[in-house]
Amino acid sequence: MAIVGSVAAIGAGLAVIGVGLGIGKIGGSAMEGIARQPEAAGKIQTAMIIAAALIEGAGLFGIVVALLGLGG
């Protein structure tokens, strides 16, 4: 059985693990915060979306590098 695909795919997968953990943690804390103070739900949600987008940006750096390495 031969291994198909590229090492770049492994790199991209590792980057996504980081993003998943980070955004999961943010989501968890946001849920807790909303549970404690339902009236602050709007602000917490906004802050959560911003933090998630920034973490995703960092993770996508890894994806871009994986795409660049796809050639060989």
């Binding site: 987008a53 995703e56 940006g57 996508l60 871009v64 050639g71 060989g72």
Partner: protein, 365 residues
């Protein structure tokens, strides 16, 4: 409701099982017999010299776009239909005494003679084309996308401005739709991050950035096949403009914080290079964030649709039809996510630009 979900999930799972059942020797099939979706996907997210609708090769139905090249002998321009849909480097166009060839969407100077395959380009060791290139100023698909966005924004916002004048500040239909967005950018993005005293100067710039990126992102999701913000050159220019605005409006306090940060003396040799590099990494992150988010979204959508073609190449037409509902359902889900991402990325770009501008005009505290 529950019954509907159960029914759909059963259909979905069955469609996957159908493909497995009719491909017992799938793992022994040569790579060349399977459908490789990667070149098609890459072709769809790249820029092109024509707006291609359907068809392949000679039978393509497309709108040709002008090609404008700055060559060694001056500016040469012609319409891309002169290449007769050839992207393999076979058809030579001669203008102004110079020969041009189209290889994979890029324009090169053609070699004098064709090689054994009839191609006028030479390739290096790793498959890259080694011909020289004229400087390409063509109106490509992305440029048409930008012009289209410009027209849309001009039409919408001049009508909104006129409507305010005519109705004395009371918003009607389109204005009523735009007003919350504009007020949102002005209050929650500009005023919040730049401060009450100085935010007014930057509101037009922030509004332009927000709506430009938003409309371009949404345009990329339409079937017209534009991919403008997924082009790193476009996001580079946007981030560069952001950097220029930040640096041009920086006050003495900002430069003092960069070149003589308020940290203990022992740390200063470490902090000063970090701060200087930091001036450039922030717009760089803006550029890569927008580019990667939009391109990744487009690639995921295209890959999910390619599942149907992979199934067809691997197991025949019947499997392809069976896989289609599942593929469409997944694609629809990702599409909805991508609309959210379109808004979110425009918001994040504008927010971070406002943040950086705010940091550069901040007074001593």
């Amino acid at each position: 409701m529950l019954k509907k979900i159960a029914f759909l999930s059963i259909v979905f799972i069955l469609s996957f099982n159908a493909s497995k059942a009719s491909a017992p020797e799938a793992h022994e099939v040569e790579k060349s017999e399977k459908y490789d979706p990667v070149p098609e996907i890459m072709h769809h997210i790249s820029d092109a010299h024509e707006i291609h609708f359907w068809g392949k090769g000679e039978n393509s139905v497309s709108i040709p776009l002008p090609i404008i090249l700055w060559t060694n002998n001056g500016i040469v321009s012609f319409i891309s239909s002169e290449f007769h849909h050839d992207e393999e480097g076979h058809h030579v166009v001669e203008k102004n005494g110079q020969k041009f060839i189209n290889s994979h969407g890029k324009i090169y100077y053609a070699n004098e003679t064709a090689d054994s395959h009839g191609s006028f380009v030479s390739h290096g060791e790793d498959g890259h084309t080694t011909n020289a290139k004229p400087i390409d100023f063509s109106i490509t698909k992305s440029v048409v996308g930008i012009f289209l966005t410009m027209i849309i924004l001009l039409l919408v916002f001049t009508s909104v401005a006129r409507s305010y004048k005519k109705n004395g500040g009371i918003p009607k239909k389109l204005t009523g739709f735009m007003e919350p967005l504009v007020v949102f950018v002005r209050d929650d993005i500009a005023k919040e991050n730049i401060g009450e005293a100085k935010y007014k100067r930057f509101v037009p710039f922030l509004l332009s950035i927000f709506f430009f990126i938003l409309v371009l992102n949404i345009l990329g999701l339409t079937p017209l096949g534009f991919n403008v913000t997924g082009n790193i050159a476009v996001t580079f220019v946007l981030a560069f403009i952001s950097l220029i605005v930040t640096l041009a409006s920086a006050n003495k306090n900002y430069w003092k914080h960069i070149f003589w940060p308020p940290v203990p003396l022992a740390l200063k040799p470490l902090m000063i290079p970090i701060e200087i590099v930091g001036i450039f990494t922030k717009p760089f992150a803006l550029m890569v964030r927008l580019f990667a988010n939009i391109t990744a979204g487009h690639i995921v959508i295209l890959s999910l649709i390619s599942l149907i073609f992979v199934a067809q190449a691997g197991s025949g037409d019947a499997t392809a039809w069976a896989v289609s509902p599942g593929a469409f359902a997944l694609t629809l889900f990702i599409f909805v996510l991508e609309v959210l991402v379109a808004f979110l990325q425009a918001y994040i770009f504008t927010l971070l630009t406002a943040l950086f501008v705010g940091m550069s005009v901040e007074e001593q505290h």
